[in-house]
Amino acid sequence: MSQYRDIIVNGLWKQNPGVVQLLGLCPLLGISNSVVNAVGLGLATTMVMTFSNGSISAIRNLVSHEIRIPVFILIIAALVTVIDMAMNAFIHPLYLVLGIFVPLIVTNCIVLARTDSFAAKNPVLPSMLDGMMMGLGLTMVITLLGALREVVGKGTLFSGLDLAFGPAARAFVIHVVPDYKGFLLAILPPGAFFGLGLLVALRNWWDLRSKKRAAQHLPAGLAQGVN
């Protein structure tokens, strides 16, 4: 069981694709201007990663090393097309907002990175879990970034919820700061870079602090090895 726990901890925290590996940044930066957009694209990516990792793991012994990348990409592309069409059919308004970023999941390097570095070497079940956890780790960061940018930029949270759940959901939009003038920079691309930079800094600071704490609890001779 510890193997599964490691996969979960890696995906969500230790090897988080958003703030540690810094992979898959194009959609992360491009679409994280509101919570709804961020969750939508994050979950779509998670689905793709779960199933691409699963299916590639299943055929890993049939594909020769030299041609593995094109084969992986073809499988990923097929899965993305399925997700793309499903979103087009069932949550059309959100699909229109996300636009080109849904098909672009194919080129998102975190998807290929996980298939090549994990699914190609591991059995099906752990691979699917890895894809899912990496996807959720990315979703977590992208959602946090989306919330940050939306609150600072527009003073709201969950605006555009009606795109996913129909007009009734408009009542759930939270106006964090009433009568807010808007801070356009946070919505524009520079805001994504500033926001991600702050999140990465926050995580590094957290890591540093917990390392220091761990060092304090160890006997003096061992403490140097930790740092």
Partner: protein, 344 residues
Amino acid sequence: MLSSPYIAEQSSVSIIMLKVLAALVPGIAVYVWLFGPAILVTLTLASVTALVLETIAVRLRGWPAKPFLMDGSALVTAWLLALSLPPIAPWWLIVVGTFFAIVVAKHLYGGLGNNLFNPAMVGYAVLIISFPVQMTQWSAPLSLAGAHLSLLDSAQYIFTGILPDGLKLDAISSATPLDTLRTQLQLEHTVREITRLPIFGNLGGTGGEAVVLMFLLGGLYLWLARIITWHIPAAFIAGLWITGGLFHISDPDRYISPWFHLATGGVMLGAFFIATDPVTGATTPRGKLIFGAGIGILTYLIRTLGGYPDGVAFAVLLMNIMVPLIDAYTQPKVYGHKQKEPAE
């Protein structure tokens, strides 16, 4: 007996910064005289905010605050930013701009000496991108304004947004000459017609041209005091003037005289006080010429073909990015060495 080197005085960062501040004073005095005292409120607010933020940032980094506050660089940044903003801008605009200048552009990049981008111009760019409406409310020159704001009235308007009874914003504000030129050109008026409007003075804008002249004189003082060299300002002004001149010759009805461009907006402030920042500017003599000329040309292009009222800030930031490249290619040859190794 004295022996070489003969250093007349000890130069330190704080003395340089004090001289820079002193060189800005005549410009500010004329500004107050012709546009009213609101700029004093903005300058004070920006200075206080900058010093507070600098203290917090330095403390957070675990350094003693006093030497960093005494070096005066935060004050220079605050003054340059405040002078680039509309004097009757709301208080939060100044605070946000100063925050981005001091905390983001300076301390997040490693503090004074490590920052890639000119802090004051980063603050300005953030504000013009985020709050275009507030950034275009400029004070009207007193000779054209319908009403005058006292120091207290200005402070009240900046902090609360409330004007004295019966006064409208229109009475005390006006578009800048650069804004007027842009909107009137879009209405298919010719330059000759536009420059008859009262906001246009002899060379630049009414009132504004005198302030610009004072900044020029302050800049010349900095040059004579050997705080800056002539390269960047001269290349900046020449680049702007020559590009503007070429456009002007090609179609005088559409492109205003290059002298106007020199006498409006942030050109003199930018050429002598902002682009000459020793941290973010080029350092080699030839590099400084390229750096300055680039800013001049870009300023003209952004003003004339771009969508923003003044191009100095963006031009400076764009050329800041180029500095490492420029410096790498313009290293002067070491005395006694040949420029290139002979081919074997």
